[in-house]
């Protein structure tokens, strides 16, 4: 579904990602892990078209998307739940969630998806008319995931869902995500919390200061001594 080859990305003169190769197959859950500053968010921003690569290729269902404007990439079916939530703080929860469907025209299906995400996050249903900026951190993350789902993505990329949240809330939100995975959405999970990501994923990639160091089935990665030492503190 998503194939990345020899991707190089930088900010101005400063290169951040070197020769990245990565693949996400349809129906898969893939984890992208690595420590802070490894370039995970940069990679997601490049896939979403917020950053343009220096060189290399990103193919989505066979079509080259590297360098396309972000609105065309959203139209093709790639949506991101960004790091730090990036909600529209002064808009209500309902307005935020519906902004996710901004690029869509299928009104009936939008209404169905809206009902679905409110079932998935009943807490959002209680807070529809509140400004998103007034929500707690966990609720903001629910709102961000709900907004992402409203785009009806083929590939959903979730960046640092767990950051700064209590484990019980993280578990709660990942349960909702697994509901979405069951319905056939392909998901790319980006996490600093390596164990958490590996538990959710079929396969995983390890990004280390701009280079792709390792990849493989998530189960094997959990037992890999290098990963254990470097990321799991075992």
């Amino acid at each position: 579904m998503l194939e990345i080859k020899n991707l190089n990305v930088g900010y101005g003169e400063v290169q951040v990602l070197w020769d990245i190769d990565m693949e996400v197959k349809e129906g898969e859950v893939v984890a992208l892990v690595g420590s802070n500053g490894a370039g995970k968010t940069t990679l997601l921003y490049t896939i979403s078209g917020l950053l343009h690569p220096m060189s290399g290729s990103i193919r989505f269902n066979g079509q080259e998307i590297a360098g396309l404007p972000s609105e065309e990439i959203v139209d093709l079916g790639i949506t991101q739940v960004p790091q730090g939530r990036k909600l529209f703080a002064g808009m209500t929860v309902k307005e935020n969630i519906l902004m996710g469907a901004y690029h869509r025209k299928d009104k009936k299906q939008i209404q169905k998806d809206y009902e679905f995400v409110l079932e998935l996050f009943p807490r959002m249903a209680e807070r529809l008319s509140q400004p998103a900026g007034s929500l707690s951190g966990g609720e903001q993350q629910m709102c961000a995931v709900a907004r992402g789902l409203m785009a009806a993505p083929k590939l959903l990329m979730i960046d640092e869902l767990s950051l700064g949240l209590a484990p019980i809330i993280v578990e709660n939100i990942y349960e909702a995500v697994s509901e979405v995975i069951k319905r056939g959405t392909t998901v790319l999970i980006v996490e600093q919390d390596v164990m958490l990501a590996l538990e959710q994923a079929d396969r995983a990639y390890v990004l280390d200061v701009g280079h792709m160091r390792m990849s493989g089935p998530a189960k094997e990665m959990m037992d890999n001594p290098v990963i254990k030492e470097a990321y799991l503190g075992l």
């Binding site: 078209g49 002064g90 996710g100 901004y102």
Partner: protein, 289 residues
């Protein structure tokens, strides 16, 4: 009731309407695009001349020319933002500030060349007419301008809150990258926002032309007023613009009665005080609702 006070309060109310329309376009452009549009008053001036020429050449009623003025300035504003300011929108505030400053000079120069520097006015058959409640005089044109100003401001509120494009504009103002991730076309949204600002300036110009004399340099005063109103009221919401306009109208009318000649100075002094006491403005910072 004291006549001066009663008439003064009615004048404050009438002026608040016009000032709201003068400032609301300036406020959206500042709040959403982070551009302090020095050319705002020049667009108001163009709107006033559109009404003047349509009335003088073809006898079109000034109030009927408001939509024409708005459409023309919408188009101009869209083009200016899309093909000029968008290229430097990510640059520091000073760059866009200078561009709009240059734009103001160009527009005023062109207006002076083509339309001459003379003061002109739009005088209709009903221009002097009005009615009175007790001793308080209310001219029809001022009342109509007030109603239309509030109507347009209300429509803007409805557009920003309940339409998809309006929501996209607000979202872009709050977090441009997050808006792009939802598929919002940023170049178009920026141009649309600026065009809304200039269209509202055009409407304000049309309304002003029925009550006040117009000239190519009339706009500077309105840019200044819009600026002070945004600082007074706070940036980024329509209620803030109304609050700022009300305070400004109050100062302008009553200092005009008791300390004529000092009204601009007093308005600016109040602005400085507000900046010290409450830097976010009376209504605080919000984003378009």
């Amino acid at each position: 009731m004291n006549y001066e006070l009663g008439q003064g309060l009615v004048n404050v109310l009438l002026l608040t309407g016009t000032l709201t329309l003068v400032a609301v376009g300036f406020s959206i452009v500042w709040g959403i695009l982070n551009i302090i549009n020095i050319a705002h008053g020049a667009f108001i001036m163009v709107g006033a001349y559109v009404t003047y020429w349509l009335f003088t050449l073809w006898g079109i009623d000034p109030f009927l020319s408001i939509p024409i003025s708005m459409v023309l300035l919408f188009i101009v504003g869209y083009i200016v933002q899309r093909y000029l300011i968008n290229y430097v929108i990510r640059a520091p505030l000073l760059v866009t500030f200078l561009i709009t400053f240059a734009l103001e000079i160009v527009i005023i120069n062109l207006a002076t060349v083509f339309w001459k520097g003379d003061f002109r006015s739009v005088t209709t058959a009903y221009s002097g007419a009005g009615f009175s409640i007790g001793e308080i005089q209310i001219p029809y044109v001022r009342l109509a301008a007030f109603v239309i100003a509030l109507l347009l401001t209300g429509l803007l509120h409805v557009y920003m809150t309940y339409t998809k494009q309006g929501n996209a504009i607000r979202a872009t103002g709050m977090d441009v990258d997050a808006a792009r991730l939802q598929g919002v076309k940023i170049a178009h949204t920026y141009a649309l926002t600026f065009a809304l600002g200039t269209a509202l300036a055009g409407a304000a110009g049309s309304l002003i032309s029925v009550s006040f004399p117009i000239s190519p340099t009339m706009g500077g005063l309105y840019t200044l007023r819009a600026f002070v109103i945004c600082v007074l009221g706070g940036l980024g919401s329509i209620p803030a613009v109304i609050a700022g306009s009300l305070v400004f109208a109050f100062i302008e009318v009553f200092s005009g009665v008791y300390t004529p000649g000092l009204k601009e100075a007093i308005a600016l002094l109040v602005m400085v005080l507000v900046l010290i006491v409450r830097p976010t403005g009376i209504a605080g910072k919000a984003f378009y609702h």
